[in-house]
């Protein structure tokens, strides 16, 4: 389960960022922001020609001492970042993938909302609850 989930706009500002409340929120902000460099690197590493067939899932972006950071980029260059605890060994690639899929679907729903102004921060209850479901339950 994730400890921090973030959605970042094409222009690299956060649309949504949520972390486990008991932990240091600032740290996660920094982590997610720094991970964008890796995301960019990964995107540019894949050739331009391959950009179309490119898989959205970017895999493990980088591990830190305590966390693993996973990334995913939609076709509209919106980035999803999931930070998971390194100690959580049960989390396999497949689970991460499915989490991203869920996140993407939910994000698509948000975008489909006619009252949502693209580029605004996401303030959707449905999205919130979906994200909470994916987060580590703070005890």
């Amino acid at each position: 389960m994730a400890v921090c989930i973030a959605v970042i706009a094409k222009e690299n500002y956060p649309l949504y960022i949520r972390s486990v409340p008991i932990q240091n929120e600032l740290k996660f902000h920094y982590t997610v922001h720094t991970s964008l460099d890796v995301v960019e690197e990964k995107i540019s590493a894949v050739g331009k020609a391959m950009a179309d067939q490119r898989e959205l899932y970017l895999g493990l972006l980088y591990p830190t001492e305590d966390y693993k950071v996973y990334g995913c980029v939609t076709n509209s260059k919106v980035k999803f970042v999931i930070v998971a605890d390194s100690s959580n060994t049960s989390l396999r690639d497949n689970e991460i993938r499915s989490m991203f899929r869920k996140l993407h679907n939910s994000f698509t729903d948000v975008m489909c909302n006619p009252f949502y102004n693209p580029g605004d921060t996401i303030q959707s209850k449905a999205f919130d609850s979906m994200v909470s479901a994916m987060m580590v339950q703070a005890s």
């Binding site: 706009a9 222009e11 690299n12 500002y13 956060p14 929120e25 600032l26 902000h29 920094y30 922001h33 720094t34 991970s35 964008l36 460099d37 890796v38 960019e40 690197e41 540019s44």
Partner: protein, 1457 residues
């Protein structure tokens, strides 16, 4: 990694240089002391060799030594600090000192890196890091596992002035030998047992005997060989002579730094002189040179200085001045003279030559010799033993490796080879080769040594060898050997993990990173550097993190965010290490990445840290700026966090020195929505005063409504036009009392002196914590101008001076010029709310005022959440400016393409001379009325200014709602007329003469419309003028005077709530002021409820005209229905009187059934009244060319209301006005009708038939129904009165008192094409039938004796009257038989006798009688209405139109007798 001044090769070479020790005799020291230097210091600037050296390696190949540098140091025998692998506190202090001394140059080199959408301004170099590295490398303790910084040679220096210099040499030589071999001193480590001794004879040119020196030198040459000794002549200049001569001082740049280092350095450490780099020295601050100073004063003694001493002797100048100056100062204090004062340039050259000679003739051959020796030893040993040994080790030791390694690991640091151990010899040789730049050989030696050490599990030695192998492989250059990066990694790992020697690991990492950087492997370098960070040393970690950050930004795809993040980490470590300046710099650089990218949490964090660091660094301005950012941004922080930020900000703010003396600083909180600022000119109104109800006017509490503003402007335009004889002056500009963002603010608003200006400022608190504002006041600027003088004198008074608590002294000066400013002092708390403050200014003089902003105290509430405001909670005083941007211009193309804003002069009012000020009060003003109800109220006008007032006018959106009465009729101003009805009737009444029957005409009055329209100019023709002049007594109101006037109100015809706007207009008595007029607004809401509905129809009367004397007579049916729905209120309505008003018609008589005399109508009851109307007398209609109205009153009750006087007639005429203005379409139609009918005179155009026909159907009669309503109100019966108007226009068409239908017709479709004139339709039969009115005149019954005479002949007179104004041809056909079945049933028919067809011509309105005779054969009832009358207009020629007069049955009874 940031760019360095040195290349990597240079760096490594300079880090490992041959070291030379110095032993000096006392006398020699004296000589050098003259220059304020000791011998090693004296040589230091000249230690880099400019020329190439040569040496032969073991294979006799010539090796070039380029750019060699040697390091000369005094021998210090202090016992070494044990090499523990960590820095001693003193060393740490030194390093931290070095780093903090090196700060980025102000406005120094910064390169802009563009990465993606980031433009970063990053200092390209990091001199503090280089300084750190250099000082770190120099502070490396000499260890046993490597020989690079062991002394290779020793200079023995003896003065020529010595009595026996040779003896002295011997003494020194023995001393050296003792130091090296006695075993007493461990510290100065010597490379090779037989250290090279070089004998230097120092000769003082200014003192000694040169010849003696030469002879001693000759002697020395004999003894030590010419290559082993040197005669150095210095001090060729006398101190006194050469003061004016400017000699370069190459020592200064070395000395202050090296002395700084040496004071904390382990004295036994050979003190390497620093390389020649300006950049570091630039960064040196003067106050950091003070330790150097103390050191110099202490002379050669290298005792550790107490650091506290540094502070005690701190120099007074703490500002970094220019380097030259500071140096001068430094030297001046130190010894009165500069370094090398006794040295000429020639001496410099001699020193240089000496070093060169020493190196090339002494040192290099010595090294060469040693290399050869070592090589020989190694070669001899190699063959058997070593290799055999290693093989056996491999064979037998293989299985035990893990066990052994663990054991080995434990004591690796303890494992020591004997200094002369064979394993070390190869290392020694490698080091020697390395020092003389013979890297190839060095590499192979290191490589071999590494293998040996590894096999011995001597990990420290192995790591050292690995490190140096990698370095020398790198320095070989070319493609001979790839750089073995893994060697480095292994070395670092071993140093750190196995040997626990952080210092060595760090050194190794520094080299490795530098090498990787030079190979553009930034990512590896960064990883390495980050790996090297540890909890042990914050400073080191900070520096390494910073370098890692630089690595990230220098990558091919710059990783900006990683850069930023590591910068922050570095900043964090810097701050932990106490390097506040560096921390601040790091955060600032990182800020560039985070700024404005939406990562608010991170941004806040950085800003907060910057703020704190800036504050501790005494840069409160920057701190305030940073804190501002946190507070102004829409923060996502929690409330407690925000509260903390706020308190911190306030704290910092209060500590900004001198902030309140010059100008108050800008405060960031709360946000002021400048554009929402509203400005109100004038007093705050009292809304009610006792019974009086004041005019609402405009107040700040009202919302601005664009539509309403347009209505008011329209009204004002009308009233101004009325006041200026129908023309709106070009300078007209609508009065705006309350300015806001939507009003037109292009003009300077006008304010009147002595009348307050109220400024409403909208605040918003973006934080989640409450803010406390207090002592709010406005900040303004005022220019005095006297408008009464032709040339106003501009006097600036109190330029932007504010009245603040701190400036009580300034306040009186302001007051003199401007007048008291009541500032609103408030304490308030609010959170996340919008809130408005109203501040009042009272101008006392004329001039130009500019409101600049606000001053207030800002404080936070205590964090306890206590709502009571603690008066001693920290508050700061500051200002915020009000800058209002005008609306965006969008008129011209340029304005559309660019973004430009118009001016907004809301806050720049012009103060004008006094103007009259009107206050209006209403008395007995109702809020609810029945439709058409007449009520009398009073209005009081009061001039509250000191200036007379005149030209009072009023304009209203509903002119038919009120009247002031007609002035010409001399309306009595007394509220009640003596003849009035007992319950204060608004009407003027007369008691009905007792004899008169109700319903008969009692009064006919002729009234000119002008009499009633005079209030607002002509009633008709001006069309929709809604302005009335208010009849003031003398036309002016003197100051303080007030007048009460009666006012009649009539409930609107439409039910519902009506908003009625009054605009009172008035002028000052003096013309030509800045303000031409002033206005006062009043809005009332009247709730109108339904009363009666009156419908009226006019019918042509068929009676003969003669009966009523004139040709015209009509029947008017009036249907009155009580449509009042309020059951409780109105009990019943009485129709008191019906009056008519018309130019042509008048009501004549009531022909109602008589029994319902009083005509009462209870709820939902309908009554019908029938009246006969006649035309007015012809002379009345045409008299005086004045179109006078005839008012006819038909009283149904017992008193007559004089409808031709004030209120009734007023409302009648006002209704006409308004109906015209409200129904422009109809008005046009009416006009068209008039013009057509005029054109249709005799011989008029053929197309005018319609007009002619219509004309004869026109009535134009207005019925006024006056009613009384009996209302129960609070158990009291109240009689209300009212009047309703019905305008009859056409015969047969029903007219209604309500306008609903007509208004529905107003909704005309929008037409985009000009409408074609409607085709001339022929008048319909129906219409034509009205041209001629027929009437049969005959006896109603006739007795005839058919017995006597079978034929009964009865004369019948057919009266034909032409209703139209044209000539009509009529044909009367008598032959026509009735075809209706009823008439057939009639038993007998009759015949017309005589001529059966007549052709007649009727002139306009002519009445003709035609005698006919009818013949009857039987008795019975006959219908005589059979004659057919065909009419056509005489001038229609062929277009003969016929019409049938639909005859009413004209029955005649023929009796037979």
């Amino acid at each position: 990694m940031a760019q360095c001044v040195q290349s990597v090769q240079e760096l490594i070479q300079d880090s490992f240089v041959p070291k030379v020790a110095v032993l000096c005799s006392e006398d020699a020291q004296k000589i050098t002391r003259k220059n304020n230097l000791n011998f090693s210091e004296l040589l230091r600037p000249f230690c880099r060799l400019t020329s190439e050296g040569h040496m032969r390696d073991s294979n006799n190949q010539v090796q070039v030594v380029k750019n060699l540098r040697i390091s000369v140091n005094n021998v210090v025998t202090r016992p070494s600090v044990p090499t523990s692998g960590v820095h001693s506190p003193a060393q740490r202090r030194l390093l931290s000192e070095v780093v903090s001394a090196s700060q980025p140059a102000e406005g120094g080199v910064a390169n802009v890196i563009t990465a993606g959408d980031y433009d970063l301004n990053i200092s390209a170099t990091t001199p503090w890091f280089e300084a750190y590295r250099e000082s770190f490398l120099q502070s490396m303790p000499a260890s046993d596992h490597e020989f690079l910084n062991h002394y290779l040679a020793c200079l023995l220096v003896v003065s020529s002035s010595e009595a026996v210099p040779v003896e002295q040499f011997l003494k020194l030589s023995q001393e050296q030998h003792m130091i090296q071999h006695n075993g007493e001193y461990t510290n100065p480590k010597w490379f090779i047992p037989n250290t090279l001794k070089y004998y230097v004879l120092l000769h003082d040119m200014s003192q000694g005997d040169e010849q003696r020196a030469d002879s001693v030198y000759e002697d020395m040459k004999q003894r030590y060989g010419s290559q082993g000794c040197y005669l150095l002549k210095i001090n060729s200049r006398t101190a006194a002579a050469g003061t004016d001569e400017q000699i370069p001082d190459p020592w200064s740049q070395y000395l202050n730094k090296s002395s700084l280092q040496s004071q904390v350095r382990n004295p036994a450490m050979p003190c390497d002189e620093s390389s020649n780099r300006q950049s570091i020295n630039k960064g040196l601050r003067f106050n950091h040179t003070t330790p150097a100073l103390t050191l110099v004063l202490c002379g050669r003694s290298c005792k550790l200085l107490d650091y506290k001493g540094k502070h005690s002797c701190e120099l007074p100048s703490d500002k970094p001045t220019r380097r030259a100056k500071s140096l001068q100062f430094y030297t001046g204090v130190a010894a009165g003279t500069s370094h090398g004062a006794c040295l000429t340039l020639n001496d410099h050259n001699r020193l240089r030559l000496f070093i060169q000679e020493f190196t090339f003739r002494g040192l290099l051959p010595h090294i060469e010799k040693n290399i050869r020796q070592l090589n020989d030893q190694l070669v001899s040993r190699k063959g058997l033993s070593r290799s055999l040994f290693s093989v056996t080790k491999k064979l037998f030791g293989g299985g035990k490796v893990p066990e052994k390694s663990i054991a080995e690991l434990k004591n690796t640091s303890g494992l020591l080879y004997h200094p002369e151990a064979p394993e070390l010899q190869i290392r020694k040789m490698a080091d020697l080769c390395f020092l003389v730049q013979h890297y190839e050989l060095a590499y192979s030696c290191y490589h071999t040594a590494k293998k040996d050490f590894l096999s011995d599990q001597a990990m420290l030695y192995a790591a050292g060898a690995l490190e140096m192998a990698a370095v020398s492989a790198f320095l070989q250059g070319g493609a001979q050997r790839p750089y073995p990066a893994h060697y480095m990694d292994t070395a670092i790992q071993t140093y750190r993990d196995v040997c626990k020697n952080k210092v060595l690991a760090e050194r190794c990492a520094l080299f490795s990173a530098e090498v990787l950087k030079s190979q553009a492997k930034y990512s590896d370098a960064a990883t390495l550097l980050i790996k090297m960070t540890s909890e042990d040393s914050d400073l080191c970690s900070a520096l390494l993190l910073e370098q890692a950050a630089h690595c990230f930004i220098n990558m091919r795809n710059p990783m900006v965010r990683k850069f930023a993040f590591h910068m922050i980490l570095a900043g964090h470590r810097f701050s932990k290490a106490g390097q506040k300046r560096h921390a601040l710099r790091c955060y600032c650089q990182a800020m560039q990445v985070y700024k404005g990218k939406g990562w608010s949490l991170a941004e806040d964090h950085i800003n907060f840290t910057i703020g704190r660091q800036s504050f501790t660094l005494r840069q409160p301005e920057n701190a305030v700026l940073a804190f501002r950012h946190i507070l102004t941004n829409d923060s996502q922080q929690t409330a407690t966090q925000q509260g903390a930020f706020l308190r911190e900000y306030l704290y910092v703010y209060r500590n900004v020195p001198g902030v309140c003396e010059v100008a108050l600083p800008q405060l960031p909180l709360p946000c002021i929505n400048s554009s929402a600022t509203r400005v109100y000119f004038g007093h705050e109104r009292r809304l009610a005063e006792g019974e009086k109800q004041a005019a609402t006017h405009v107040s700040l509490d009202q919302e601005f409504d664009q539509d309403l503003a347009a209505v008011w402007q329209d009204l004002e335009e009308q009233v101004v036009a009325a006041a200026n004889r129908g023309v709106v002056p070009s300078t007209f500009y609508p009065t705006q009392c309350c300015l806001n963002s939507q009003t037109d603010n292009l003009h300077f608003p006008l304010a009147v002196v002595e009348e307050p200006i109220i400024v409403e400022v909208a605040f918003r608190n973006p934080l989640k914590v409450p803010l406390v504002l207090s002592d709010l006041s406005l900040l303004w600027k005022f220019t005095l101008k006297d408008f009464s003088r032709p040339q106003p004198q501009d006097v600036m008074v109190g330029d932007a001076v504010t009245i603040t608590n701190e400036k009580e002294a300034i306040a009186p000066r302001v007051r003199k010029g401007k007048g008291g400013i009541p500032s609103v002092c408030k304490f308030l708390t609010f959170s996340l709310l919008s809130w408005q403050a109203r501040l009042k200014l009272l101008p006392r003089q004329t001039g130009q005022l500019t409101i600049l902003g606000l001053v207030y105290n800002l404080a936070s509430t205590p964090s306890t959440g206590d709502s009571t405001i603690n008066s001693n909670s920290p508050s700061v005083r500051g200002r915020q400016d009000l800058e209002i941007q005008g609306p965006r211009l969008n008129q011209t193309k340029e304005e559309k393409t660019s973004v430009s804003h118009g001016p907004d002069r809301r806050l720049d009012p012009t103060i004008t001379p006094p103007m009259p000020l009107l206050e209006v009060f209403f008395l007995q003003f109702p809020t609810a009325l029945l439709c058409g109800e007449i009520r009398k109220a009073y209005v009081e006008f009061c001039n509250v200014s000191h200036v007379p007032l005149c030209g009072l006018r009023v304009a209203s959106t509903h002119p038919d709602f009120f009247t002031f009465g007609s002035s010409s009729l001399a309306t009595p101003l007394t509220p009640l007329s003596p003849t009035s009805f007992e319950n204060c009737s608004a009407y003027k009444t007369l008691a009905t003469p007792p004899g008169a029957t109700p319903g008969s005409v009692t009064a006919v009055t002729l009234v000119s419309a002008a009499d009633f329209g005079s209030g607002g100019g002509g009633v008709f023709g001006t069309g929709g003028k809604r302005v009335a002049e208010i009849p003031l007594g003398e036309g002016t109101l003197t100051p303080g005077e007030s007048t009460q006037l009666p006012l009649w109100l009539r409930g609107p015809d439409q039910e519902g709530v009506h908003e009625i706007n009054f605009l009172f207009y008035y002028e000052g008595a003096e013309k030509g002021g800045k303000i031409s007029h002033r206005v006062l607004r009043h809005t009332v809401f009247i709730c109108a409820s339904r009363s009666l509905s009156v419908r009226a129809t006019a019918c042509r009367s068929n009676t003969l005209p003669e009966e009523e004397g004139r040709n015209g007579s009509m029947l008017v049916f009036v249907d009155v229905e009580n449509i009042n729905t309020s059951e409780a209120g109105v009990r019943e309505f009485h129709i008191a009187q019906v009056s008519s008003s018309s130019k042509q018609w008048r009501l004549h008589k009531c022909i109602n059934p008589a029994e319902n005399k009083d005509c009462k109508l209870t709820t939902r009851e309908r009554g019908k009244l029938c009246f006969r109307a006649t035309r007015c007398k012809p002379h009345e209609a045409t008299s005086k060319s004045l179109e006078k109205y005839t008012f006819a009153d038909l009283s149904l009750g017992n008193e007559q209301i004089i409808s031709s006087t004030t209120p009734c007639a007023d409302f009648f005429f006002r209704r006409c006005q308004s109906s015209e203005s409200w129904r422009p379409l109809i008005a046009v139609e009416t006009q068209g009708r008039h013009s057509r009918s005029q054109g249709a005179g005799p011989g008029g155009g053929a197309e005018d038939i319609t007009g002619v026909v219509r004309k004869c159907n026109e009535v134009d009669l207005d019925i006024i129904v006056l009613w009384k309503a009996f209302v129960v109100e609070d158990n009291k019966q109240v009689i209300l009165e009212g009047q309703l108007h019905v305008a009859l226009q056409t015969i047969g068409k029903e007219a209604c008192s309500l306008r609903q239908k007509e208004e529905a017709q107003e909704m005309v479709l929008l037409k985009f094409k000009p409408e074609l004139p409607p085709p001339m339709t022929r008048p319909s039969m129906e219409q034509l039938s009205h041209l001629i009115k027929t009437n049969l005149h005959y006896p109603e019954s006739y007795s005839h004796s058919f017995v006597q005479k079978s034929l009964c002949m009865i004369p019948v007179i057919l009266t034909l009257s032409n209703c139209s104004l044209a000539q009509v041809d009529a044909i009367i056909d008598l032959r026509h038989k009735t075809t209706s079945p009823e008439s057939l049933e009639v038993h007998g028919s009759f015949t017309w006798l005589g001529k059966t067809q007549y052709k007649l011509q009727l002139r306009a309105q002519e009445v003709m009688r035609l005698p006919l005779r009818a013949g009857f054969l039987h008795a019975g009832v006959y219908n005589l209405g059979t004659p057919r009358v065909f009419a056509k207009l005489a001038d229609q020629g062929a277009m003969c139109e016929t019409s049938q007069q639909t005859a009413t049955p004209a029955l005649i009874i023929i009796n037979s007798t």
